[in-house]
C-alpha cells in the first residue's frame, strides 16, 4: 500500500465515529429484523479509487453475483455511499426482514435498498452531525452485477462526479444463527476528503 491516506490519529477518530454510528445502525436493524443482531466494530480502510478493483477482486473471489446499492449524498461533504452484498446474504437478510421464505426478486431488492439506507444514513448522518454539517440524501439505487470492482469504478466515473478517494468499511451483521457480511464504501471527491480530514482533526482537538 502506498502512503497512507489517513494518519493513525485520523483513522482512530473515524473509527470512533463509525463505532457510534454502527451502534445506532445495529439497534435499528435489530429492531427492524425482530431478531437480535450485533454489528462488530467495523474495519476501516482508505485508498485511492483506482486501487479498489484489485481490492475487490481479492475480497469477492468466488462470489459470482451480488447487489450494489448506491446512494448519493450532497453538500459540503459530497460523495456516494455504496453497499455491496452478495446474492446469498441478501436473500437471507430479506427473509429476516420480511419474515417470509417465499420472496420474489423485488422483495429482496426492496430489502437491500432499505438496509443500505439504514446503514448509510446511520454512518454518514452521524458523521456529518458530529462534524457539524448538514447533508442531503438521494434515494438509494440498486444494480445487480458480477463484476464488483469494475462496477464500482464505473459508478465512480459518472458524468459530473469526480470521486477519487474511497473509504472502505467492512461490516458484519451477526445474528444468533447466522452471519451476513457486507461492504460499505464511501466514495468522495478530493475536496470532500480534504474537508473530512480537517473535520477529523477538529474532532480530535475537542477530545
Amino acid at each position: 500500500m502506498p502512503a497512507e491516506l489517513l494518519s493513525a490519529d485520523e483513522k482512530d477518530a473515524l473509527q470512533e465515529l463509525m463505532n457510534i454510528s454502527f451502534g445506532v445502525a445495529s439497534s435499528i436493524i435489530s429492531d427492524s429484523l425482530n431478531s437480535f443482531s450485533t454489528m462488530p466494530l467495523p474495519k476501516i480502510d482508505a485508498m485511492d479509487l483506482p486501487q479498489l478493483e484489485a481490492y475487490f477482486d481479492e475480497k469477492f473471489r468466488g462470489i459470482t453475483q451480488c447487489y450494489i446499492v448506491t446512494q448519493l449524498f450532497r453538500n459540503r461533504f459530497d460523495g456516494e455511499s455504496v453497499f455491496i452484498i452478495d446474492d446469498d446474504s441478501a436473500m437471507r437478510l430479506s427473509s429476516l426482514l420480511l419474515e417470509s421464505d417465499e420472496l420474489g426478486k423485488e422483495d429482496v431488492q426492496a430489502s437491500v435498498l432499505e438496509i443500505t439506507n439504514i446503514i448509510s444514513s446511520a454512518c454518514i448522518g452521524k458523521l456529518v452531525e458530529l462534524l457539524d454539517a448538514q447533508i442531503f440524501f438521494n434515494p438509494p439505487v440498486i444494480e445487480s452485477t458480477c463484476h464488483i470492482g469494475e462496477s464500482v469504478l464505473r459508478l465512480s466515473k459518472r458524468e459530473g462526479m469526480e470521486f477519487t478517494k474511497v473509504i472502505i468499511i467492512e461490516t458484519k451483521l451477526e445474528f444468533e444463527t447466522e452471519q451476513i457480511t457486507g461492504y460499505l464504501l464511501f466514495l468522495t471527491k478530493e475536496s470532500s476528503f480534504v474537508w473530512l480530514k480537517e473535520a477529523l482533526g477538529r474532532f480530535l482537538d475537542d477530545l
Binding site: E106, Q109, N117, I118, S121, P139
Partner: protein, 396 residues
C-alpha cells in the same frame, strides 16, 4: 398547518402521518389523483383508507426516519406503490396503478410526525420498460444475424473446399490423359506385335520399361496433389518462386490442353523467402490461374483472342516496402471496370451457373489478408487482367 398553501400547490403528493399512520395532512394533489378527501381532525388511518398499505414496512420506515433523523425511501421500480391510484385508462399504460417513489422524511421529531412525499414515476418506468423491450428485441436480432453469418461462413468454407477439390480433380484428369493415352497405345502395339510374332525378350523389357515410366508419372501426379491437400498446419519459410513453379507443374496439362501459354519471370535480387502456410498460397495461385484460363477460353470462343494466343504470366519482384510482390497477368481483355469493385465479394460471378460460384477471389483475399497479412488487388492492363499480391516479410 401554516404551510398549507405551499403544500397544496406542489406537483406531487404530500401526507403528514403520525406513528399510528393517522393522516394529519393530505394535500390537494392527492385529493385530485385519489378522489379521496381527508379531514385532518378526523384521525383517519391511512391503512383504513387504503387497506393495501403494507403496515409493517411503512411503520418500520417511519420509525427509522424518526430515529436516524434522515429520510427512508420506497422505490417505485421494486415496490411499485404505497397505495393504489388507478392509472388513467384512456392513455395506454402497461401499469394498472401509479408507480410511486416515496420519501419518508422526519417532519416533527417531538410530535413523532413524518412527511410522505409521493412522486409519480409511471411515465418514467413505462419508458424504461419499453426501452428494455426494445433492447431485448435488438439483442435477439443481433443474435439471429450473428448466427446467420456464422452459418453462411460455414457454407462458404465448405463450398470453397469443394471448389478446390473440383479444380484438382479436373487437373488430375488432364494430367493423366497423356500417360493413359500412351498406355493405351502400348496395349495396341502389344497386340499387333503378337500377331506379327515380334515379341521377344528385348521387346517385352522395352514395353515394360515404357509402361513403368508412364505409371510412375501418374503416381507422381497423385503424390503432388496429395501433398497439396495435406494440411501441414505449421507455418514454414518457403520460396515463392518454387511455389509458383510447382503450381505451374500441377496445372501444366490443363493449360496445355487449352493451348494456353504460361511463364514465370523472377526479379527477386536474392532468393526470396516467405513465412506461412505454403499450400494456402498455392490455393490462391490456382484460383487466379484458373480465372485467367476461364477468361482466355471465353475470349477465344468469342473470337477476341486467336486460338493458341492466350497467355498467363507470373512475375515476382520486391516491393517498395520490402514486401514480396507477385503479379498474375493474362491477355484475355480484362475485367469490366464496373465489376472491379465487386469481384472479391462472395458469390459475385459473371459466369454461367455451372461454371462459377463466385467464391474464388473471396477465398483468395481471405487467405492473403488473414494468413499472410498481405493485400490482393486487381487492375486492368492494356491486354487483360492483373492481380497484385503484396506479401510482407515476417519473422517466425
Amino acid at each position: 398547518m401554516q404551510n398549507r398553501i405551499f403544500l397544496n400547490s406542489l406537483n406531487h403528493g404530500v401526507i403528514i402521518l403520525d406513528t399510528d399512520l393517522r393522516v394529519r395532512f393530505w394535500n390537494a394533489w392527492l385529493c385530485a389523483y385519489t378522489g379521496v378527501e381527508v379531514d385532518p381532525d378526523a384521525g383517519s388511518r391511512l391503512d383504513v383508507l387504503f387497506p393495501e398499505v403494507d403496515v409493517r414496512t411503512l411503520k418500520r420506515k417511519i420509525k427509522n426516519a424518526l430515529t436516524l433523523k434522515t429520510p427512508s425511501f420506497i422505490d417505485a421500480s421494486v415496490s411499485h406503490y404505497l397505495f393504489k391510484i388507478p392509472v388513467d385508462k384512456i392513455t395506454y399504460s402497461s401499469f394498472e396503478y401509479m408507480q410511486q417513489n416515496v420519501t419518508i422524511a422526519p417532519y416533527d421529531l417531538e410530535a413523532g410526525l413524518v412527511s410522505l412525499m409521493i412522486y409519480d414515476q409511471t411515465p418514467l418506468l413505462e419508458m424504461k420498460q419499453r426501452l428494455m423491450g426494445f433492447n431485448r428485441e435488438l439483442e435477439q436480432r443481433v443474435k439471429a444475424a450473428v448466427e446467420e453469418n456464422r452459418r453462411k461462413d460455414m457454407l462458404l468454407q465448405q463450398q470453397s473446399k469443394q471448389a478446390a477439390m473440383g479444380e484438382m480433380i479436373s487437373a488430375i484428369a488432364h494430367q493423366w490423359r497423356q500417360p493413359l493415352n500412351s498406355i493405351y497405345a502400348i496395349a495396341q502395339d502389344f497386340e499387333d506385335a503378337f500377331e506379327h510374332g515380334e515379341i521377344d525378350k528385348e521387346y517385352v523389357s522395352e514395353i515394360s520399361q515404357e509402361m513403368s515410366n508412364q505409371i510412375d508419372y501418374m503416381s507422381q501426379t497423385i503424390e503432388d496433389f496429395r501433398n497439396f491437400f495435406k494440411h501441414n498446419r505449421s507455418k514454414v519459410y518457403f520460396s515463392p518462386v518454387e511455389t509458383v513453379k510447382q503450381v505451374f507443374v500441377l496445372l501444366s496439362s490443363q493449360l496445355k490442353g487449352s493451348t494456353i501459354g504460361y511463364a514465370l519471370t523472377n526479379d527477386l535480387p536474392k532468393e526470396g523467402k516467405l513465412f506461412g502456410y505454403e499450400n494456402d498460397l498455392k490455393q490462391v495461385l490456382i484460383i487466379l490461374i484458373n480465372n485467367a484460363r476461364d477468361a482466355i477460353v471465353a475470349a477465344t470462343q468469342k473470337g477476341v483472342l486467336s486460338h493458341g494466343g492466350g497467355n498467363v504470366s507470373i512475375h515476382i519482384k520486391d516491393g517498395e516496402n520490402g514486401e514480396t510482390v507477385i503479379l498474375v497477368m493474362d491477355n484475355a481483355g480484362g475485367i469490366d471496370p464496373k465489376n472491379l469493385e465487386k469481384i472479391f465479394e462472395p458469390y459475385f460471378t459473371t459466369k454461367p451457373d455451372d461454371k462459377g460460384t463466385g467464391i474464388g477471389l473471396f477465398i483468395a483475399r481471405r487467405i492473403i489478408e488473414g494468413q499472410f497479412d498481405g493485400t490482393i488487388t486487381a487492375e486492368n492492363t492494356a491486354d487483360g487482367a492483373m492481380f497484385i499480391l503484396r506479401l510482407p516479410h515476417r519473422e517466425a
